[in-house]
Symmetry: C2
Subunit: 226 residues, 2 copies
């Protein structure tokens, strides 16, 4: 499709050096904790100035791929895979298609997490959910309704016990909020937060899965208009 074509970005020297170093790490099969050549060695091998090299290294440091250790010099580190993602997630700078993609992604995650919930839920989790839904009946004001949405669904992500999933959701929250406050739902769901908690407490995985789908139905219907 022609709208998948994006202009070729003009590469700076730092772009190229950054790519070369990443290729080098990959090809050499270097692992976390391994030492990198010195700045001088790298600059000579790549035939670039120290300034350009430092710019590229600064980027890799930002991504958490390298760190400088006392006495040992530069070593490879396990990057925080969501750290750089977090840096660019700004709803104001996001195009509409990406926003919609992310909103759908949220629905897919919540429709698919029942197994993890049933595998890892504890009595304490259920008690916390019950506390959260108690406040639902006061949720008339739009702003309060959104904060209740975030508290309830956020707690579900937490119960999955999957730290990457949980952090992912924390980052995407501003976008969910943005989409929620811009959507007008004439369709009402027949399943409330409170119903979901009761099923998670006493019902089985399949009933929960069906109930969650019914709970999210207004959003799923909304997708059909896309």
């Amino acid at each position: 499709m022609i709208n998948d074509l994006t202009p070729i970005a003009t590469s700076t020297r730092a772009d190229i050096v950054e790519i070369r170093i990443r290729e080098y790490l990959s090809n050499k099969k270097l692992k976390t904790g391994d030492t990198l050549p010195t700045e001088l060695e790298l600059a000579e091998a790549l035939d670039v100035s120290r300034n350009v090299l430092r710019e590229a290294l600064s980027r890799l440091r930002m991504l958490g791929l390298i760190e400088t250790k006392k006495k040992r010099g530069m070593v490879l580190s396990a990057p925080d895979i969501l750290g750089s993602f977090e840096r660019v997630l700004n709803p104001q700078l996001m195009d509409e298609n990406t926003m919609k993609d992310i909103f759908e992604l949220r629905l897919v995650l919540e429709l698919g997490m029942a197994d993890l919930l049933y595998l890892r839920k504890t009595d304490k989790d259920i008690a916390e959910l019950e506390q959260i839904v108690k406040k639902d009946k006061n949720a008339d004001a739009e702003e309060f309704r959104i904060s209740q949405e975030i508290a309830f669904h956020g707690k579900l992500y937490e119960i999955t016990g999957n730290n990457t999933l949980k952090r992912f959701q924390t980052m995407l929250m501003p976008i969910f909020g943005f989409v929620l406050s811009n959507s007008h739902h004439s369709i009402k769901s027949g399943v409330s937060h409170s119903d979901l908690v009761q099923i998670l407490k006493n019902g089985d995985r399949d009933s929960f899965s069906d109930a969650m789908r019914e709970h999210l139905r207004p959003h799923i219907e909304f997708l059909k208009e896309r």
Copy 2:
């Protein structure tokens, strides 16, 4: 939990300048296409050297947050939200917990995507899936089996029509492959790729959802051991 505590990273001047500029963009509610102050203005306002400023700007350029336009100078751009994520996804540099998180994330996505599939599947998609599963019966060799897994499940992501989801999956593939080739499943699934295609073709969303869960059951059982 104490294992959630990570050492406080030592910040360089470029780290701080990068954060300040991102805060500035956010606070000023700048949008895509808006012009940034010049390098000189920024260096003076932040009271830092041009070198440090350039290092920070280089990082933002790498993230796709700013670009330099002829005659207009630096402008804000819509970042490629997955671009920087892609840069750090290297299974060799990933710790075991993150790998497991990502493997679970994949299961959650595939268990939750039935609605998108039923909303967007076309006859052409089904025909392509049928082509893919034809080769399944030859999939004795481990390596070929993994490539069939990737082809089949990859096509499902494509059918969702969600570009972010699809790219996400492409990036995570090396990790899925890594986990797959390291896992030993004594449990066999009762539902094959070919069964799934037939249900997607002729069955309803609920039957597909149940069948997908049965197809992924060996992996779900594997989670219980975690």
